[in-house]
Symmetry: C2
Subunit: 269 residues, 2 copies
Amino acid sequence: MTGTHPFDDAVHLDAIDAEVWRGRTHPEWANMVGPFGGITAAIMVRAIDVHPDRIGEPLALTVNFAAPVADGAFDLSLRVVRTNRTNQHWYVELSQEGAVKATATAVFATARDSWADTEARPPNAPPPEAIAPTGMGHVVLWADLYDMRFVEGPLPGADGLPDSSSTTTLWARDKAQRPVDYPALAAVCDVFYPRVFLRRGVIMPAGTISLTTYFLADRHQLDAVGGDFVLATAHAHRFSGGYFDQSAQVWTREGALLATTHQIVYFKG
Amino acid sequence: MTGTHPFDDAVHLDAIDAEVWRGRTHPEWANMVGPFGGITAAIMVRAIDVHPDRIGEPLALTVNFAAPVADGAFDLSLRVVRTNRTNQHWYVELSQEGAVKATATAVFATARDSWADTEARPPNAPPPEAIAPTGMGHVVLWADLYDMRFVEGPLPGADGLPDSSSTTTLWARDKAQRPVDYPALAAVCDVFYPRVFLRRGVIMPAGTISLTTYFLADRHQLDAVGGDFVLATAHAHRFSGGYFDQSAQVWTREGALLATTHQIVYFKG
């Protein structure tokens, strides 16, 4: 089966046996080197989601990008490390011809009744309809699959200057308005270009090494998003020794915090 | 060999074979259930650090706490997933009698010359010498191994009231002033009691499920800390469905950002 949308195509997996699934890269999701990290994260979530032993919904995901995924087929091997009453721990490896290209650990969990509060506040932003959909200027192919409207910190152009802030805030939406599910949320958590581009005002070699996402939305909140925009904001704390860290949040238009997400990024410059 | 300090005792490991190391729990590091998560994180870092194939220094660590570690011996099995020119990916499992209790993925990396800047700013805090060492009131044993001086958000007492902020900021120092190395930094990244205690003004069942730390200090900066206090600050973004997320930073007295660290926590209340 092939989906009718690039996202569904990209996360499509064929069962090889009970613990191994095969997928393939899709040229429209290409990043500077290999595929968009967000689509790899989405594939990891999707692989667990369709596993017959899976309980609950995604709560935490860490993807380590060990080497570029080459164009073509890849295998995902899944293992349930531990199943508890209300949560389950997974380990996943993505490999090509025997070489591991990415690993993931994930916690899936069932929500329970509890005290609840969102202490964080969404960034100030005009509605997406008030902002031009500038996107990321065709620098990477995958970015053209999203409608991106920058509130703050767009990708620097050819005349870019250093910025004292690493904060980017944007509205992002799947251009085909495919509904946001957990795999799609995992993908959009990596929608930001590297923060060092903004601070330095130039594009340079850079790539995510490790990406962690906490899924804070329940399925009802996620379903309510449908194919609408989400408001995504990211900043870095420290750049040093060729690496920087990034922390980000993804909000709904109504002010629900869907996810917090963090990553450590390699850069050369 | 047994160290002369509780931290060195706790991270001591005996080689079983090339990929398996044996450690044991130590009663002075006990938490509400099982050992302090920070000491488990420290043991993971230490196990990789002493492995003959290890290159570089810790850059990213994610520990998933799958089940409580029981009192007694545990085995760590280590695997190099991938070695690149400037970084290396690891997978570690901590098990007892064949059952996995915790997993970790780690990236070790060599620092390279690059543009550098610390964009984040440390929280405002008087020097530790101006604050009484109140600690955490002997609620958990491990906390008594640290000299804790709260700038903001101490552990609620018996007359605790709900707080509108989940922020805790404290100076923390190993009471025996053992120098801070990467394992010790991994441990202190988990020095915070659960944020929900502060918001609700009461202690309730709670525990970290997944902990991610980005090590941003180079060894020179870490060596400069010695046995001094670090300034640690943490806050939560959202509490929902029995879970909350926490983001935190660890700073030196001189304003160097040693680490950023994030976790997702279970709570019942």
